[in-house]
Symmetry: C2
Subunit: 392 residues, 2 copies
């Protein structure tokens, strides 16, 4: 990912000793000039200190830097946690000589432990020294927790006579559920965009991407998606918005898919597609119920086309389900017709088709035109091992 | 469990070849005379054929026999499934010489496969021949699926000058969630009880017991709880009801606990107690959210007092949560005070205390007087193995 850059932005990622073993755990994203900012945050009632701080600060509409640590969530840390989050921002502001209100903060890791501020303070100098136009891979590594690889997106879109760039990094591998559970993503672009338009485009993109993935049905205290648009490139007009939104949607889609692909212990990526619901809400509920069903997820791990578990999951969440209208395909092969085993079902071929890394489940409810798509993983013994031992 | 009996009732359990390997898979409960019946069934919109049949039949208020097969759920089997369920009842009625409407049916096992009726037909003679006053252990074995042991309750309550007996058998080890997911339980008593009172007492008992357990958050298509009261013993009057209800509650409590203790792959039984909620509904939602959280369940498997995951679970479900009021104890030891790590928390003692088979989590929300208790298990690699391989 070296070589990608967006004018006016620099990034860095270093190790300051929070995670230990020399692992990168402190990241900085910095813009030469104040940028328009938009953001979305966890809907969990228990919000980490940096989330509370950022929610307040992005109301101002501008930001110039984002500092992120991994290894500690700074959640459930009370007043001290808020002071620490503010100090993190203050350290960046002081060193950069910018207004403290222009610095945003994000944290990810264990909940309930105080931030080791001494380490963060001592990391400031190397963090700034490492800033570079192509420091995005380092930054992406420094925000990882149980992730096995950094997640970076870079894309460009021709708008008018300009190539408008979008660069994003993300982390997230467990505690992944709608409403962006334990997921951090940061985007930058040099386009000039109105704040309200930026917030609206971000909201729509996230709803269809980051809010449609689930690894374990958990919702985090720290989820954050931020975008900075520093206006050093093309100034977008209303007619340009649809093009930029396509680019943003692509960025969100790519990063959310990378998160699922790195799902804790996952051996398979599962796309659950529900069609024929009365409305999109029903389709989304049904798709999430299937995607979060332990019995469905374990069946997929075992390459078992156990469609009865899908039917049971549907019936547990959809009051208006009409069993005899349900049609199910796995990997494009017929499984259920009219709510019963399809006469064309070939168990052997199904097992074989489910043996690969990608599994596609299509459910047609036969009731209306509502549809939704959710990405998830299988559930494996490895997931249990990872999460039984996370803190130790 | 040999030696327990209730006057006028006989039971049997035999192998008719549905499960194979000589495993028992067909059970019969038979009363000398028609009994008052009450029942509760899955709220899943996808209901198995026997559930649909029983829901209709118990409206009549009387039943004399219950036939149960394991190894096949007779769910998602369409019109043929209903015909098969009716035939199962008809076979019993014909052999016993009773009205077909007095025979109830239950099935548990794989969804979506047609019932092997030939085997059930051929099992009728041995099933009747095996009927015995103390055949309850055999019957309890014949309704098992992934259960590792039969589940039987027997209790007596002194009411007036009589000892009123209650005998129950149950099965269930996975797909266990509120609303009685994949759970069968059958009770018999010789008391004479009005139908409406019986239904009401059963409903209240189940709500506090079978509806407060969860192994994996799944809801089945086949859950059934039935009670037969054949009136050959004491005729209960209004003043006797509270005593009988205590007995029924004890029976439901015991069997529901046995189900959790036999939870698929479980190494620990976890009691989640939530107090101080605004109302019982909030307390129940919070307790279930914690009990169904994969991250909490895996932490418990790892003996890790990872309270941050409990806080995140609470915040994801309770809109009115006030983080700074939350207090958490694990095994009676302080963990969280005022929404943060308790200063008296001793990680080492906590780990040690979580090392046993039973784990108790107390959450005090500090908001009101609503409380609820939910029983669950930890989540283990073994659960995944069992459910990845169930059908094979």
């Amino acid at each position: 990912m070296k070589g990608f850059s967006v004018q006016g932005f620099r990034a860095s990622g270093i190790s300051c000793g929070i995670k230990g073993k020399g692992l990168k755990d402190l990241a900085l994203i910095y813009s030469e000039r104040p940028a328009t900012v938009a953001g979305l945050f966890t809907t969990n009632r228990v919000k980490a200190a940096p989330v509370l701080l950022d929610m307040e600060r992005i109301r101002g509409g501008a930001a110039q830097a984002i500092i992120v640590n991994s290894g500690n969530a700074n959640a459930c840390t009370g007043r001290k946690g808020l002071e620490d989050a503010r100090e993190m921002a203050g350290l960046v502001a002081a060193r950069a000589g910018i207004d403290e209100g222009l610095v945003l903060v994000a944290s990810t890791g264990v909940i309930g432990e105080p931030l080791p501020m001494e380490r963060i303070r001592s990391g400031m100098l190397p963090l700034f020294e490492a800033l570079s136009e192509d420091g995005w891979d380092d930054a992406a590594r420094a925000i990882m927790t149980t992730d096995t690889r950094p997640k970076v997106f870079f894309g460009k879109k021709r708008i008018g006579d300009d190539d408008v760039p979008l660069l994003g990094i993300a982390k997230g591998a467990g505690m992944i559920m709608p409403n962006m559970a334990t997921m951090l993503a940061f985007f930058v672009t040099d386009a000039g965009i109105d704040r309200e338009a930026l917030q609206e485009m971000l909201g729509e993109s996230v709803e269809r991407t980051f809010n449609r993935i689930t690894v374990d049905g958990e919702m985090s205290t720290n989820d954050t998606v931020l975008i900075l648009a520093n206006g050093m490139g093309r100034r977008l007009e209303g007619k340009d918005y649809s093009s930029f939104k396509e680019l943003l949607m692509e960025g969100c889609e790519t990063l959310s898919r990378l998160i699922v692909e790195d799902g804790e212990g996952a051996t398979k990526i599962v796309e659950v597609e529900v069609r024929g619901a009365f409305n999109e809400g029903d389709a989304k509920r049904a798709a999430f119920r299937i995607a979060n069903s332990l019995l469905v997820k374990t069946a997929i791990y075992g390459c078992d086309p156990n469609w009865g578990r899908i039917m049971a999951a549907l019936g547990s969440v959809l009051e208006d389900l009409e069993e005899e209208r349900v049609r199910i395909e796995i990997m494009g092969l017929p499984v259920v017709e009219g709510g019963m085993a399809s006469p064309e079902r070939n168990e052997e071929r199904l097992r074989e088709a489910m043996g690969g890394r990608r599994v596609h489940i299509l459910v047609d409810l036969g009731l209306g035109s509502g549809e939704a798509r959710v990405l998830t993983t299988d559930l494996t013994p490895e997931y249990v091992h990872i999460n039984a031992a996370y803190r130790t």
